[in-house]
Subunit: 235 residues, 2 copies
């Protein structure tokens, strides 16, 4: 029933236009009553994005179970759940992408959905970065970077009519974010930074020491920074 | 007239609530006709955000004149225009912040405004990064990071009832983004990287060389990375 309503709605949106299609038109074509429509969808806009609520719930559950994982990697993996939802039905995703671009109201709806994903990622990171310097700032910036990278790759894929490899494009985009933030901001408890398990002061308690790093000039910068952080005891 | 309409609108929004106030109520209190209202504001929502169109125009003009500047610094400075708009009238900004939090329709409107700022920053960066590897990806991610950092500081300031120093908070937040992206992604033409003006190969054409960096262990990471980039000839 739910799928039949979505199919009927999109058929009419494409034939007549979104604005010109009423909920009555949709239920007539689907052969059901108005009440059935509103049981599944609070409004006509919601039928355009039938899977986001489920995906948001999946993302929230995924993040709730991720307290042990490296946090930036975890939010990147959470973003991949959104891609998977789009990739499950490429033809539908392309139709919706084109429709959303044409209808300002749907664009606004989509922005509010994107904000909810970003908010879920930011909340998870804020929790993980509790007590760290600039914890909420880092959380908000990294969540925004993850969403922007994911959406950059997603849009390229949708514009290519799903001919490119969506998974590879999103992996590449999220790899850029992970290379930027995936180290150094990983939360280590301040006590862990200051003390070793044996009670001797740890790396960051020895400010007077110098660190020497030797690198090949052609090494990628992220790789050098990774080594550097490791040498400084902040990895 | 425009200011009088905004003042009348906010007085009513605070007294009766946003949803319970009509455009007729606003023009009656301001002592003008409906036509005057709609000359300045396309809808009731627009009177809540009377300065964003001007600020967006200022930002676009500022970015259009910034082709010679370091791009990440330029978008950070562009974001400061938004802060300045909020800081010009702190009492009004706090009232609006509280109102927007309570009314979902205004929250959606605000998201669309934020998206337009982010889009303006991303378009500028895309132009500056044309032809660079991952140019659009970097542009989108950096624009999103700038907006997230700016808004993190802006919201803290609004929540403090404007008691904190807004400029210092935003400088700190944008400093985090600049330290992350302000070097290394600065577009240098590939030819410049490969050749010196005298035709001899430049730094990145000498992959077999090693670079030695010596750092105090307590130096801030961004400072070390800056030195590192300089040593690698990528600053």
């Amino acid at each position: 029933m739910r799928d039949a309503l979505v199919a009927a709605a999109f058929r009419l949106f494409l034939e007549r236009g979104y604005e010109q299609t009423t909920v009555d038109d949709i239920v007539t074509l689907a052969g059901v009553g108005r009440r059935s429509f509103f049981r599944y969808f609070p409004s006509k806009e919601d039928v355009v994005f039938p899977d986001h609520e489920r995906c948001l719930a999946d993302m929230t559950a995924f993040l709730a179970g991720g307290a042990e994982h490296e946090p930036v990697r975890r939010v990147c993996d959470a973003a991949r759940l959104v891609l998977r939802m789009y990739a499950e039905n490429p033809a539908f995703s392309v139709q919706r992408y084109r429709l959303t671009k044409r209808v300002p109201g749907l664009r606004a709806y989509e922005l509010s959905v994107v904000w909810r994903y970003e908010h879920a990622l930011a909340e998870y990171l804020r929790e993980r970065f509790t007590g760290r310097p600039d914890g909420t700032l880092r959380a908000d910036v990294i969540a925004a970077a993850v969403v922007a990278a994911h959406n950059n790759a997603l849009r390229s894929w949708l514009r290519s009519d799903c001919e490119d490899d969506a998974g590879a494009a999103v992996d590449h985009a999220l790899g850029y974010v992970q290379a930027t933030y995936g180290h150094g901001v990983a939360p280590t408890a301040p006590e862990e930074q200051k003390k070793r398990p044996d009670g001797r002061p740890g790396p960051s308690a020895r400010p007077d020491e110098v660190v020497v790093l030797v690198s090949r000039r052609d090494a990628p910068l992220w790789r050098v920074v990774q080594e550097l952080e490791s040498a400084l005891g902040r990895g």
